[in-house]
Symmetry: C2
Subunit: 290 residues, 2 copies
């Protein structure tokens, strides 16, 4: 445990005090400025925390990887948790920057490109942060939650900006947040099992977004016009086009076509039979009467 | 801080030592057996932890609500974290029990009933456990993670049992896990904002499962036969029937119908133009060459 009390003015103090000069055995190297040194320590910590869970990374590991002394690291950061949170903030900013995408071209192709960059990030930084995202990490704190929430908010805001729907309904916002959770969980599962190629995951996540958007529009007639212009901009060989073709092929399978056609026709019987059937649908957990 | 060391034999010891008799001011009440007392303390703790975040519940609160002394609580549990975890385990068992559903009737109606019971649980226990599920709770630990993972596994296993697909593919398992995450996130968001009626959420979550299952079958032709029998068992006035009707209405909107029909026809141009278009789809994040 370091007894040194960290302070916001420590950076400035080092300009004259140079506390790292005294560390025995440190290799001579170009002297870093205070800001450079801080950034370097964060970069080194991010690299280590990206590969291993926080409990397997020590301040000594970080000091060694940075070519710095343990007291120097403590001069900049009060302890491992602070360095962990600083590196997570850096990772969060880096990830949020990857969500930015020009407002051009079919929406599903924009999202496809973003997901390529997101999954690339997951591959390089995910292993160390997986426990944090899953919950139950020893390093979880109000600080780490705030970073994660901010990244989710950035993703949510980017998606809504690209959808360009003037006043997104609560239902649409919920759809976007649920899809973001889906992307998180799916990529964490992928990290653990790698059961499908990464580029399949990239395509599937985009297609799941298209499906969720369509379902939301099916519930909210106000979104029908937006959905029409969404589909009108899509291309046959893009993620949406390929999804539509796969579904068309699936629904052309005779058994499926017949069953879906019967469902689409709606309840054909009327009167008492219909009512009994409706009651059966409500089931034991019946919706509250209004 | 209690200095008493908890031990697995403490329950047995109490039968003769009766350590709660000495607590001054305790109201006389029917003496509970050791097991009853332990269960009562867990029940009282669960009630309190369901309503408030763990940092707002003290051992004194629990003792007061249980009509017990603080030393008595410490006799059964080493501290608040242990009581929190015991109450979470109880909640987890209670929730997992709600997933059990007879293997009868259309699948979407079974899931609809389960979701009714799940959302009822979320309403009554969710407020206190929301921070834990979102990550970043001060009470998060390896113990709490294990309980949460077990509930997710129970949900996953129940769904696969109802789907009755002999050897579920990795893609199908991923679909199920992602949908479970969707249900979690969506219900936590609902707890925070209550922006739609609960019975709508119940229906939407089931319909999203149907959509995810359909998308998975569109990717995995081996599932087509399973999907055909799934749709064949569904009823027009059940969640799947209503989804199909809503989608049919949506796709009958002229702009949407035209755009989707054009996409379903696939790329109509061949040769160089098609190739250029395919490259554009790959975009800047292009899939790795194989």
């Amino acid at each position: 445990m370091a007894s040194r009390t960290p302070s916001p003015t420590a950076d400035r103090a080092e300009r004259t005090a140079a506390p790292d000069r005294g560390a025995a055995g440190e290799r001579p190297r170009r002297r870093l400025s205070v800001d450079e040194r801080r950034e370097q320590l964060i970069a080194v910590a991010l690299e280590l925390f990206s590969r291993r869970p926080p409990e397997e990374v020590s301040i000594d590991d970080i000091a060694a990887a940075a070519g710095a002394s343990r007291p120097l690291v403590y001069h900049y950061f009060p302890g491992k948790q602070a360095l962990y949170e600083a590196s997570l903030r850096r990772a969060g900013r880096e990830l949020s920057a990857r969500f930015e995408e020009p407002m051009e071209g079919p929406l599903s192709e924009r999202l496809y490109r973003v997901m390529g960059r997101y999954l690339d990030f997951v591959q390089s930084h995910g292993p160390g942060f997986a426990a944090l995202l899953r919950g139950g990490s020893v390093a979880a704190s109000a600080g780490t939650s705030a970073v994660i929430d901010e990244v989710r908010r950035a993703a949510h805001d980017q998606i809504l900006a690209h959808l360009a729907i003037p006043a997104p309904s609560p239902g649409l916002r919920l759809t976007v947040r649920a899809w973001i959770a889906n992307a998180e969980i799916t990529s964490l599962e992928w990290l653990a099992e790698r059961s499908v190629p990464l580029e399949e995951l990239q395509l599937h996540l985009v297609q799941e977004f298209v499906a969720s958007l369509t379902l939301t529009a099916a519930r909210e007639p106000a979104l029908a016009a937006e959905l029409a212009s969404f589909f009108a901009d899509e291309r046959p060989d893009g993620p949406t086009g390929r999804l539509v073709q796969d579904l068309a092929a699936l629904f052309a399978v005779p058994g499926i076509l017949d069953a879906v056609t019967a469902l689409a026709a709606g309840p054909q019987t009327v009167g008492p039979v219909d009512e009994a059937s409706a009651q059966a649908t409500e089931g034991t957990a019946g919706a509250p009467a209004e």
